[in-house]
């Protein structure tokens, strides 16, 4: 199941980045995204899963987000989550997430996409622990499976709106603790929870 996949992968990425940060080194975001896709395909192939499809763009340069995730809900229908990936550095900063001189900003493009396709955009953050020894607070957020462990935030998600609010408030950069623990969820929330589960993804009217 993809839910078991993310349960395994999130702590592995968290540990990998933590080890890399220990040497004050970094890992490129595009490489992590490719590794995530590879590992998912390998996981599904080994288990012969028939409930997962993976597509890759023929021309990557023209796209606005990194990953479109369609997850089936209890209705049998699919919700669309547009994910924009960013990786933490050894200082806990997402260096590539900042205000650009040229408008529109990335989160504004994602907002336009939300309106056009009626999807939901998130920033997908690749996280590890820093500095050593760790001083990060314990997780407080919850989802349909309870409170995630810190390592489950190896793949963390933050709503586009929170990013927009962060920068419209005058921030010049973004770091892990700007969003964690109160505004960041583990990616498992999108994969493992339905929108109408208790502690699920959305509220509904």
């Amino acid at each position: 199941m993809p839910c078991a996949f993310i349960d395994k992968e999130a702590p592995e990425l968290f540990d990998l980045l933590t080890a890399i940060f220990g040497y004050r080194l970094k890992l490129a975001e595009i490489g992590i995204t490719d590794l995530f896709v590879y590992k998912l395909v390998d996981y599904c192939t080994a288990r012969g899963l028939t409930n997962v499809f993976v597509y890759h763009a023929k021309q990557e340069a023209v796209y606005g987000a990194d990953l479109d995730l369609f997850v089936q809900q209890a209705t049998g229908k699919y919700l669309w989550f547009a994910l924009q990936a960013k990786v933490m550095n050894f200082m806990g900063v997402y260096k590539d997430l900042r205000i650009r001189k040229k408008n529109p900003q990335q989160w504004e493009k994602l907002k336009d996409n939300e309106a056009k396709h009626r999807n939901k955009a998130f920033y997908l953050f690749y996280n590890g622990d820093y500095p050593s020894p760790s001083r990060l607070p314990a997780p407080v957020g919850t989802d349909c499976r309870g409170v995630p462990a810190l390592k489950d935030y190896g793949y963390g998600i933050v709503e586009r709106l929170h990013i927009e609010t962060h920068f419209s408030g005058g921030a010049s950069r973004a770091k892990f603790t700007d969003f964690y623990p109160y505004k960041m969820d583990a990616l498992r929330k999108l994969i493992c929870c339905d929108f109408d589960d208790p502690g699920g993804v959305f509220t509904r009217i």
């Binding site: 995204t33 896709v37 998912l40 395909v41 599904c44 028939t50 409930n51 997962v52 499809f53 993976v54 597509y55 890759h56 763009a57 023929k58 021309q59 990557e60 023209v62 796209y63 606005g64 987000a65 990194d66 990953l67 479109d68 995730l69 369609f70 997850v71 089936q72 809900q73 209890a74 209705t75 049998g76 229908k77 699919y78 919700l79 669309w80 547009a82 396709h117 009626r118 999807n119 939901k120 957020g141 919850t142 709503e159 709106l161 929170h162 609010t165 109160y182 505004k183 969820d185 929330k189 994969i191 339905d194 929108f195 109408d196 502690g199 993804v201 959305f202 509220t203 509904r204 009217i205």
Partner: protein
């Protein structure tokens, strides 16, 4: 801050798409052929992952309605 957005519920046929994407998994012999949905839908991200889950047998909610995101999905502040 209150965020309002109506989400669309997609059918599988709409998101199982050909160009501009190649199907990577399950592997196909001829990725540019076969039965596909709306090829123009959401050519937005460089990668697309579709995850199907078991449909709950006792699900009773009407299918034809909008989903409403009434606020941030956080539960504890």
């Amino acid at each position: 801050m209150i965020q309002a957005a109506f989400l669309r519920e997609y059918d599988f046929s709409e998101i199982h798409t050909a160009a501009p994407y190649n199907q990577i998994y399950p592997a196909v012999d001829h990725p540019d052929t076969g039965v596909f949905g709306d090829v123009d839908l959401g050519a937005f991200a460089s990668r697309r992952i579709v995850i199907s889950k078991a449909v709950k047998e006792n699900y009773t909610m009407a299918l034809e309605r909008d989903l409403y995101v009434g606020g941030p999905i956080r539960y504890k502040e």
